[in-house]
């Protein structure tokens, strides 16, 4: 078990390291650098030389990679390209805001998705299943920005229940984001529920057809006790990894949703940085997302190994 965890951990670290190399080399291999990107047409002669001096672009690539990656390990992402701001400070509150948004979506979405998945699984091919499964397909296919726009149109403009966009500054205390926060979080929740629900439904159907469920039924265990005590814990195991993937998806989907709602999070910072061609900020945000992605999947892997003895022995034999 410990060996397996260490193996996963090592793989995760290798992945993060490779991402950092790809991001660094990707920018390195391209024509031009951070300075030509910022200066644009003025990128020649003295201005260019001075900018490269200030940004430390004259040192060898390897030294710069080590500086950059070493900085990330200590939470120092260096300076942004345009305003000479510290990226760590720029990112701080926005990362918190994005996590807040994701936490809101997960906190509501996952219990709801499990509930709907169980219902759909138990009433397979009858109206609750058909209703939820069709809804899930629609939620999965409609782009985030379309769903967000439709919700704004209905709830903010036609009904006027909630504000359409967030005007709170990035460093405001979390509670200040309230009413505005609701629509943005709802969009993410809606789209996220679909994947988890479908997974729970499928594994619920499989588990309910298992021998031990039949055994419990024959022994006269009450139906709902079978569902909650015997079936549900087993049905949720495969859902752990899907939830992890959903979190990863949230990190990507959050970009568009933040832009639509003008929410001051990491995603909007990223889009602003891209418009300004601010490569250091883009690199930093990409690294943060990649680390989060690998971390969440690692936790999910370890959790499902710990909770599922069958998986454990199977993989130990395999490895």
């Amino acid at each position: 078990m410990l060996a397996l965890i260490i193996r996963r951990l090592a793989l995760g670290l290798i992945t993060v390291w490779l991402v950092s190399v790809i991001i660094f080399l990707g920018v390195e291999a391209l024509p031009g650098d951070a300075c030509t990107a910022i200066l644009e047409r003025d990128a020649h002669g003295e201005a260019l030389a001075k900018c490269r001096e200030v940004m430390g672009l004259n040192t060898p690539a390897l030294t710069r990679y080590l500086d950059w990656s070493g900085g990330i390990l200590t939470g120092d992402f260096g300076l942004s390209a345009n305003g000479q701001e510290r990226i760590a400070e720029l990112v701080g509150y926005r990362l918190r805001n994005s996590l807040l948004l994701a936490a809101g979506a997960l906190g509501v979405g996952i219990p709801l998705a499990i509930f709907l998945g169980v219902i759909a699984g138990l009433w397979r091919d009858r109206w609750p299943d058909i209703l939820f499964s069709t809804g899930a397909i629609f939620a999965m296919t409609i782009p985030e920005f379309v769903a967000a726009t439709i919700l704004i149109l209905i709830f903010a403009i036609w009904l006027g229940w909630v504000p359409a966009i967030v005007l709170t500054p990035a460093d405001a205390p979390p509670l200040d984001f309230f009413p505005e926060f609701i629509l943005a979080s709802t969009v993410l929740t809606m789209l996220m529920i679909a994947h988890v629900m479908r997974m729970v439904r499928a594994s619920m159907i499989e588990v309910m057809a298992g021998d031990y469920v039949q055994m419990a039924t024959l022994k006269g265990v009450p139906y709902w006790r079978i569902v909650f005590r015997h079936a549900l814990p087993n049905a949720l195991l495969p859902a752990i990894n899907v939830i992890a993937l959903t979190v990863a998806w949230l990190l990507g989907g959050v970009v568009v949703v933040e832009v639509v709602f003008n929410y001051p999070g990491l995603g909007r910072l990223l889009v602003d940085a891209i418009s300004d061609r601010d490569l250091p900020v883009v690199q930093a945000i990409t690294m943060i997302v990649a680390i989060t992605y690998v971390g969440v999947n690692l936790v999910a892997d370890i959790l499902s190994l710990a909770l599922n003895p069958r998986l454990r022995s199977h993989q130990e034999r395999g490895a």
Binding site: M140, P143, F145, V146, L153, H195, L245, V260
Partner: protein
Amino acid sequence: MSSTSPAARGLRSVEVLRAMMARPSGAIGLTLVAFHLLMAVLSPWIVPFDYKAMDATLTLAGPSSAHWLGTDHLGRDVLTRVMLGGREALLVTGTATPVALIWGGLLGVYLGLKGGWRDEVAMRLVDAFLALPGILPLLVLITVFGSGGEVLMPTLAFFFGIPVIRVARAAAHEVVARDFVSAARARGHRPLDIVRRELLPNVTDTLLVEGAMRWSWMLLGFSALSFLGFGVSPPKPDWGLMISDARVYMSLAPLGVIGPVVALSTLIIGINLSADALAKTLGLDHSRKAVI
């Protein structure tokens, strides 16, 4: 299957299409996709107005007999722009999807057959690329190369090919263990010949279904980029861009948003329903697999 003639293969695709049409999801899906493809081809000749023509006296107008869906903030006809708005998206994703499928599929199958250190290294790289979810890697490349169709096509083809490697590799693994591959190896065939003659014919079904799903995700990605202002450049009409522009005037002219929203959604739902029907027809039900 390796000896099927082109005629027999053509016959099989007709059969598959017919079987798909027999399912309600396939019938609806294929009809929607066919409608959008037809519209993309024919729209330049049948649109009622010039998509660039502005009318300053008629901005954000409601529906009328001349402008069925009203006009946008520059007085351009919304219906015209909705009819034309899918062309760029379909052209870019329609080219990038097969490219992604071919390079990802070939590499994946080859790795699945070959194994060893090449496989190990490649899969670690795949993991690293997949650690950047959604449209993030696209955004990074756009920062560097700038936006526009000529950048987006290769970018989409590259990034959407990466998950295909994984799927093709897994599919190849199942085939590699079978006797006819061992037989081909024993006969002394070269790896590339084994890939072409033994493996590819057996994984094409999986790759086709994968390709259909990838197409819909690629469209989602493309429209999201367009919406963020990194895709199609104005005044070219594109649904994502139109939604982004019209959203500001949503309370005055809701049809400016609803038009492109309906167009984009029906296309994506159509592709998804077709993919679903294709998977069921080919006996590859993917509803249990996690979506990456």
